[in-house]
Symmetry: D2
Subunit: 346 residues, 4 copies
């Protein structure tokens, strides 16, 4: 398809971005072109918008931002099998190589050579986006676009939460950003007996309760280790979902996991992290599992089921919605802390 | 049984120990009395002998030291079922409570209330030792006492190594103390395709090769990350058994584990440990498993099988043997670093 | 404790039972005596009541029947630790030996030497019951006795259902007797996306829907393979819980499980069962797991959590309640097929 | 590539096959053309050669037979990425669709739509074979072609055996055809404590011992249940690998698996199979796992490692080798029962 389209582009080595007219992407024979119906802003996009150290080191400009999307296929490359114009799809943002050991053993989310949509190549904050056919997910038609575009971040939460044994267990979610909030919903759907939500932001703790947390704890005003140990009869919790990216949060969390318990780590820490490995991990016999991305495609099937069935209701987490023209307001909402997910529509 | 016996006793708040005459222990109705046939010195015993900070904080004197043992039951308490005078036994050194959540769900090695033989109550470096009947393991009669007493430390290695998927995998053992050396033997028996042994002590690296390591790497003279990445075709290893207790060792190890790989942590670190959690654990999707003790009794069955069948030959690791009268030589051998396991016999 | 009590006793080699006065059981030093507060009738009791072939071959008369119970400890044997008069308890009906391989490796429910309460020794349909201390479970005080006595059969359902990966999955429950009905509740609590209940009894199918089944199918009036294949978009279900004890039910079930799916077998079949193993198991890569009893004590913890939290509401399944004097009505309700669980209280 | 080549072709609806000149296959843009270096005869080929009921129902003639192969790529289709002329490869015989649930969740070996090389389309008993690029496996250069072509059947054995916990366990292999024999080698490499080989053919039992079986039992002259129960101290074995395709073999095997044990089923049974499910599976808490094909590509990595490292030595199983011209002798050796694997080279 030829012509111009609008896109939110990172085009300077400084904070901010611009909405501008750019060429509609030209697909290769292995790609499809998607008409964008709804997108959402990820924390990664915010790093790029704010142009922090990570972004400055990683991003090559100019770049169209964004990777969380739902839309419709409008053009199909010549070597693509199984996809047609009109298909309603989302995109797995990791474009895996398909040939490394990880890709060939069911771990494509840990591909050694992956490239990320909206990070390593042009993304979805635009009227159209080009995507490799191998990265497409067929959306259930019952999911509205503003829910379907959230399958990427909900998928992170599903991957982290369902990597653990949740049913009948006690679960603590450390950090109630959007993925923490989604994880609360997933843990509730999977039958956790008790879910503790921990944050320092009261706005987010209120959403946490709507998502199914049985107890919301403000870590700024309570000794969370004491509170949880007392509430669990000094047993501790079975599962810690560490999503705070905060060194003290993680250290406290390890203290209140029970002996033999499990920890999922889905956080990026700004610096190295100091741990009391002997007392908090070795002697307690804990298992720590690093979580990144979503399993292709096991996580997508699970996420799709949870959203379609209504077992996880993301409406509480969607706090803002803007047209792309008003993207600056969207990023400001993200920076304020008083937000869940922000939807952008073309 | 009444009378006196010899015992190696920690009786002062300083380095060293004494061999002296003490009363033969009086059993309760839930105990048995065991005539000691062979024992071995653990790193824990060495901490107590050297009276380091850990020992000074933990140990109440006087205490008969030692917990690795094989011997024969000579007296049986009135409430003990299933054990008889003459039975050839070893002892699981963790006396678990039997009533906590962990004990009641197959995780007695992670009991919240356990007490340790030779640490919290009198141990095995003596002619006789009293043990709770619930801590007894029936030795296969084909195992000589000097092998049977090693089931405790070999069990640590079995628990750590067989907590991982080993067959056809590449395995790195970081730290070739006795448990590292036993782990090499276990990994070889379980069919690892390639085993890397890493240490800074050439004496131990030579034993590592006898135990089945395919390549022994001196971390003092090589960049172990480069060596292993190159040797694995830049894939990295599937499994890291971290037994060095060394912060740099662990950090290097995490670098050469492949994406999606696994780490068993069976080390005590003298201080807190600093890690690059984001890059080395989260993005790589690694799983870290803290290992302590031995599973009761799953690990003992496995250990017994490996030793009885000859699949793991511990004779290469037994470097010294002394009578208890010469125990000082035994501890000095342990302190020298030029030793594997040291056997003490009454 | 001395004196007489009432008990429902099997005392003849024919159908039926009698309520009579018998001696209160005398405990050994390893037992406790429990005052019975509530009991429920199991299918096993019905086999004995009806005196079928199984019962005639297995049961030694006279025998006090029953094994599902909740009550209070009123006497504690001299060698019992950790239990006191006044404790509110239920009983695991399998008295495991504690010394075989299975008992020592966390599989006591598969003990080679177990004896069953109310089958191999006097049971709970009485004012008092004697139980080995090792078989006691401490009830949460929030559970009423008529719920607490159901932890045994709900535990069967929990063991079967949570032996499978349930969250986000499609599950078919074949056979809606009480354990099938409880399993539906457990699968719903654990987040199954869709639950199919299958039976030929409309009364039970109605309860199935109250327990959380999304679709109830009368196998007498529908081709269940066609119905389920069509409803799943010709994928088939992820998990089959086979609780019908019916050869055709199992064969049909295997047809509608998807390739790579899982089957839990918690059924006793009156005769040998003929299967198309090649097409229905080998080529499809199915896994079939035989389920018996409850894991000690992992299943009890889970069951207790599900009942206490209200995640599984058993009130729909309790269809009848009688005093022990009216036990004949209870057994008749069981025989009618128009019943769920029948409660008997002293 | 144009021209003629020789091929072993099934061209009549009766037993036998012919060696004839046929056209070299024309590749599509998604295929490669492979020059065949070595092949081996599978039991499936023998069914076709003998033209039994299965073959008569399944096979469309004319068809070039065979699917076990090693060779060199000589032509690469225009849409193929990652493969070059000269690459040394083998072929996974299941051509999976890549789009069904199973394919998208790491279970491509259970694809609902697969087609089989040498069964559904022309195979490898020829000078050249056409293969979809998605089915290629890159051979380690250290493996000679006559070993590399065996990765398919050894892979079946690896998939079945390593689907179980083998290290330190007792394993019985029921049926010592080639896959049973390979499984013995895999179980030995993975550290089974004791391996029982069972067959009625002394020739095969002798090879079983060379592959690592500790005890070979002639089921025609012994009561295998009694022999194994006695030899295991009446515990039974941990793992049964059922590869006999014989109803009595399976029934006997279930009797001597210990409570809580595991069974892998990699057999095709000529008829329905009658089982005592209640006593032999449900009450014993056994798990039965149907095994078909090889995991793509996890099994291939493991198989490649076992063969390259020499941990499994297949030379004992290769009993015959012929040029393709003498293929009739190869099939006759297969039919005689006095054979292991038969190699055919162009």
């Amino acid at each position: 398809m030829n012509g111009k389209m609008k896109a939110i582009v990172k085009d300077r080595h400084e904070a901010g971005a611009v909405l501008k007219k750019v060429d509609i992407p030209q697909i290769t024979p292995d790609d499809v072109l998607i008409e964008v119906w709804a997108t959402s802003i990820c924390g990664t996009d915010l790093h790029m918008y704010n142009w922090d150290n990570w972004a400055a080191n990683r991003i090559k400009i100019p770049l169209t931002m964004g990777h969380e999307v739902a839309g419709k296929i409008v053009e199909v490359g010549g070597r693509v099998n199984g996809w047609d114009v009109g298909d309603y799809v989302s995109i797995e943002c990791h474009d895996a190589c398909g040939r490394c050991y990880q890709c060939r053993t069911g771990q494509a989310h840990l591909c050694r050579n992956y490239r990320i949509l909206g990070v390593d190549f042009d993304g979805v904050f635009a009227d159209y986006v080009k995507a490799p056919a191998g990265s497409l997910w067929r959306n259930r038609t019952t999911l509205p676009p503003e829910t379907a575009c959230l399958q990427d971040p909900v998928g992170n939460a599903v991957h982290a939460t369902l990597s653990q044994d949740i049913s009948t267990k006690t679960v603590a979610v450390m950090g109630c950003g959007p993925i923490g909030l989604f994880s609360i919903g997933v843990a509730a759907a999977a039958g956790a007996e008790k879910i503790y939500a921990i944050d320092v932001n009261d706005y987010r703790l209120q959403i946490a309760q709507k998502m199914g947390a049985h107890r919301a704890i403000d870590a700024g005003h309570s000794s969370i280790v004491d509170v949880i140990m007392e509430d669990t009869g000094h047993e501790g919790v079975d599962v810690l979902l560490e999503m705070s990216g905060n060194e003290m949060g993680l250290n406290n969390g390890l203290k209140f996991v029970k002996n033999g318990g499990n920890v999922a780590l889905l956080s990026l820490y700004p610096n190295r992290v100091s741990l009391d490995l002997s007392d908090d991990v070795v002697f307690k016999g804990l298992t720590l599992k690093g979580i990144t991305g979503r399993k292709m495609w096991d996580t997508w099937y699970k996420t799709s089921a949870l959203l379609s069935s209504g077992q996880v209701d993301v409406s509480h987490v969607i706090t803002h919605k803007f047209s792309m023209e008003r993207f600056v307001e969207g990023f400001e909402a993200m920076n304020s802390g008083e937000s869940g997910k922000v939807i952008l529509v073309p």
